[in-house]
């Protein structure tokens, strides 16, 4: 698994759980809206894996429904990049590559270091699922970046939109994972020391998280304790 554990910051479980939960919700917004039925299915499957991973981790922290549906935006610890609006398909796929690459380093590191048997179980499972997600996002970024004039232009736009949000997830190992994909996609990686947005670690979020949570939490808040 490369030198994954050497220079990767292992995030706390709440950062990881919230990251998976929020990105899962974002991806679910593509349902019935993706360009092809196959992609609709793919994004749905990835969202489902992320949701399962989030649930597994949230269950180790407390009541999963309470944590998902009754916390305020500033209490969430997800990397800000996970909550950004989907944008076009280029933005969605580049963000997916960035987050998949982060998770490809984080899951093995977490599995190797955690003292919590339940967390290790989630991580071991997620390693396999994430590898398949990374394959998918890498293939799309490469295909779109090295595709038509328009798809390339959109990928460049996606890079402009997302690069400053890498702060919560980037590490030397992360650049090592993403750079070859960007290179194959004929995209220029902006400087590693370029400016980054504030981190979510101190509770800072973009304006977008509140709107996302308003939708995600509305049913549970209108009908507390509702059962199917």
């Amino acid at each position: 698994m490369k030198s994954a554990t050497s220079n990767v910051r292992v995030p706390s479980v709440d950062v990881l759980a919230d990251g998976c939960l929020i990105l899962s919700h974002r991806l679910s917004e593509w349902m019935s809206n993706a360009a092809t039925m196959e992609e609709d299915v793919a994004l749905g499957n990835i969202a489902l894996d992320l949701l399962g991973q989030a649930r597994g981790l949230l269950q180790t922290l407390g009541d999963e429904d309470q944590l998902a549906y009754f916390r305020e935006p500033q209490e969430f610890r997800n990397p800000v990049i996970c909550e950004l609006p989907n944008g076009d398909f280029a933005v969605t796929m580049l963000r997916q590559l960035f987050v998949d690459a982060w998770l490809s380093l984080v899951w093995p590191a977490l599995a190797a270091t955690t003292d919590d048997e339940r967390v290790r179980g989630v991580a071991e499972k997620a390693i396999k699922e994430n590898a398949y997600h990374l394959r998918h996002s890498s293939a799309w970024v490469s295909r779109l970046g090295d595709g038509t004039e328009e798809s390339h232009r959109r990928m460049v736009g996606a890079m402009d939109a997302l690069w400053s949000y890498r702060g919560d997830i980037a590490s030397d190992a992360w650049y090592d994972v993403t750079e070859p994909v960007l290179s194959e996609a004929t995209l220029t990686m902006p400087p590693r020391d370029a400016w980054t947005q504030r981190s979510s670690a101190d509770g800072w979020h973009s304006e977008h998280l509140g709107y996302l949570l308003a939708e995600m939490q509305s049913l549970a808040r209108a009908h507390p304790g509702a059962q199917w």
Binding site: M1, E38, V41, A42, G44, N45, I46, A47, L48, D49, L50, L51, G52, Q53, R55, G56, S104, E117, R118, R120, G121, V122, E124, K125, A126, I127, K128, E129, A131, Y132, L134, R135, H136
Partner: protein, 162 residues
Amino acid sequence: MTATTTSRAWTILADVPDPEIPVLSVIDLGIVRAVEESTDGTAVTVTLTPTYSGCPATEVIAHDVRAALEASYETVEVKTQLSPAWTTDWLSDEAHEKLNTFGIAPPAGRTTLPLLDVGTPQACPHCGSGNVEELAGFGSTPCKALWRCVSCREPFDYMKRH
């Protein structure tokens, strides 16, 4: 409590189908990791390992397993164990045959981590041709991808090596 594959519970579980792929039982699928029966035969504990983190069938399976066993035991406990993670390597040989007959190409070969390679179907489950191509990496359930036979032109599901 004793663990045995010849217990009554094991026989009952061999008839509990996977809700998404009903041709396979939970035993065929390899998700039953342990069955422990009390010495007086009134209580049973079953340990299940889910296939994928978000698979919606997981909760249905736990419910079905409990319901099937409650007909024969006074006390039924269903436990979940995540580690070691489920792998298609745990599918029985019989499961491979059943899948193929059902029209789903079984996983080809053994898993290797980090699993960027989920393998390719050995043959079209409809006509047996080896001339097949991937249509989409994700399919109707988390465990499957969508493939097509170039010879008979029929699409089919492939259970990914995982």
